[in-house]
């Protein structure tokens, strides 16, 4: 019992932020992202309590989150068909940044570029977006991404590639 508790709290301390970040970039909705992050940890806890073993914790967490995000999409599918393809209706990046962040001029400038980039990523179709985020924000290798998404490495590379291509297009369009 104690072992699981320890494992979970350590997992939380280490990965809560990045999970949340990934969720918010996928969903463009801070509140839902928060809920899903919590759910991901909760499900992990339940899995441990049932006696499950986790070899790679980070991948496990992301995979759990991924599945939750899919469920979330399916749920909101009736609300908006474009959710899978286009995230225009989502909130701006600004809303994703927590309210208690200090706003110096420097970080504002840096953020502007990055925000634009992120905004562009948000416009990608979700399969590409997922791959890009996992690769360039969360720092997984293609192989790890394959593990998380339960797809082949091949498909993962293809998605990253196509995602980048699309991003270039979007970049040219906006600038």
């Amino acid at each position: 019992m104690r072992k699981n508790e320890k494992q979970l709290t350590e997992a939380f301390d280490r990965h809560a932020d990045e999970l949340f970040r990934h969720a918010s970039l996928r969903l463009s909705n801070r509140d839902r992202a928060r809920d899903l992050t919590q759910d991901a940890f909760m499900k992990t806890w339940e899995y441990l309590e049932r006696g499950g073993e986790i070899r790679e914790l980070r991948a496990f967490l992301f995979r759990t989150l991924k599945n939750l995000i899919i469920d979330e999409y399916r749920r909101s599918k009736s609300e908006s068909l474009e959710a899978l393809v286009d995230t225009d209706e989502g909130e701006t990046i600004d809303a994703l940044i927590p309210p208690d962040e200090t706003n110096t001029v420097e970080s504002a400038i840096a953020r502007l570029d990055g925000e634009r980039a992120l905004a562009l990523v948000s416009e990608l179709p979700d399969p590409y977006r997922e791959a890009i985020l996992l690769r360039y924000v969360d720092g997984f290798s293609p192989k790890e991404i394959a593990n998380v998404t339960e797809l082949t490495e091949n498909i993962v590379s293809v998605r990253i590639h196509r995602g980048l291509k699309k991003l270039r297009v979007l970049l040219e369009q906006t600038s």
């Binding site: 709290t9 928060r34 953020r111 570029d113 992120l118």
Partner: protein
């Protein structure tokens, strides 16, 4: 796409949970963790009782019964004193039950000591252990006793008389012992028991500082050499002695005395085969003298004297029959003639001029 990469990293770094959000989430998660459950079964009495039952079932009730006759040093002795007896003791809830249970334990410990001494096996350690037990149980009996409202009780007299009588038995056994260390053990235990001074009329045991502050064993400096009878031992004071003018109490004491005598007679009958004929005859003579002593008793002191003497006889008979040594009885039988004289003195001295009181039969 390096630019993009770094841009993305930098920008996304800002996206994270606020401190509040983080704390709240963490708390919600840890709230799910089960609290440490205190097992209601981790409880000394329960464990003891189940251990006794478990022994019954696994090894057979014979173990629990077999432990009954075990002595200090035997494997099952621990089972007896820390499992079986406490479990039985638990059921003694009322003060009366506590008094009689503790008294019973005291006699058990003493009998164990006598058995060991008779076999020359009473080591210093065993003697000390037994003395400690006896001390604890006598204290418990005293405590329970003081909770009772009744002023005086014949069992008090019996208890203390028997303690000092047992002391004498042990002293006798010590004298006859062939083993040095056993003799030492028997002597020290005998000295310990002698603190219940039989010359003082006793009904209730007064609280003294010594009894209040933990086992008096500690004040005894129980050494390997013959223990001196300590001055620090609790002194016994007469308390609530029935006034001979209180005829009701007096009568009660007398009938208790009669009952005691008849109990001894019965006991003697059942032990007839174990003792030699002459011994039995001597004991019977002694008992009939005691009978007369009781009959003629008109004062409290006489009644107490009677109790003391009778209990001594009872104790010695029991010891002799258990250990199969008639010579144990010699100390009390030898003094028969002297006792007789002094008894007559008593009744003639104090009761002179007064007509004999009710026969109380």
């Amino acid at each position: 796409m390096n630019d993009l990469h770094s841009h993305l990293i930098r920008a996304s770094r800002d996206i994270k949970l606020s401190d509040d959000e983080r704390t709240l989430m963490r708390q919600t998660l840890t709230a799910r963790f089960p609290r440490a459950v205190v097992s209601p079964y981790w409880n000394p009495l329960f464990m003891r009782t189940s251990a006794v039952f478990a022994l019954f079932i696994l090894i057979g009730g014979s173990t629990v019964f077999a432990s009954d006759t075990s002595l200090p040093g035997d494997t099952l002795y621990g089972v007896k004193t820390s499992l079986v007896e406490p479990t039985q003791g638990f059921f003694a809830q009322t003060p009366e039950a506590k008094v009689s249970w503790n008294t019973k334990l005291v006699s058990r410990r003493i009998e164990e000591a006598e058995e060991l001494a008779a076999g020359d096996k009473l080591s210093d350690r065993a003697a000390e252990q037994l003395a400690l037990h006896i001390d604890t149980n006598v204290k418990a009996a005293q405590e329970a006793r003081s909770a009772l409202a009744i002023e005086h009780d014949e069992s008090d007299a019996e208890l203390t008389s028997s303690l000092s009588a047992h002391g004498k038995v042990l002293a006798t056994l010590a004298d006859k012992s062939k083993n040095d260390s056993s003799r030492r053990g028997a002597r020290s235990l005998s000295a310990f028991l002698a603190k219940w001074n039989e010359d003082e009329p006793v009904l209730a045991l007064a609280d003294t500082a010594a009894t209040k502050s933990g086992p008096s064993m500690k004040t005894m400096a129980f050494s390997a050499t013959i223990a001196e009878v300590p001055e620090a031992a609790p002194t016994l004071q007469a308390k609530n002695i029935p006034d001979e003018r209180n005829s009701e109490a007096f009568a009660r004491f007398k009938s208790a005395g009669v009952a005691l005598l008849s109990r001894i007679h019965t006991r003697l009958d059942s032990l007839r085969e174990r003792l030699d004929e002459q011994t039995v005859a001597d004991v019977e003579a002694r008992l009939s003298r005691l009978d007369a002593q009781l009959d003629n008793a008109t004062s409290t002191a006489q009644i107490l004297r009677f109790f003391k003497d009778t209990t001594a006889v009872s104790t010695f008979i029991n010891a002799a029959s258990k250990i199969n040594r008639d010579e144990l009885l010699s100390p009390i039988l030898e003094n028969v003639s002297h006792e007789n004289e002094s008894a007559e003195d008593d009744s003639s001295g104090k009761g002179s001029g007064e007509p004999e009181e009710e026969r109380g039969r």
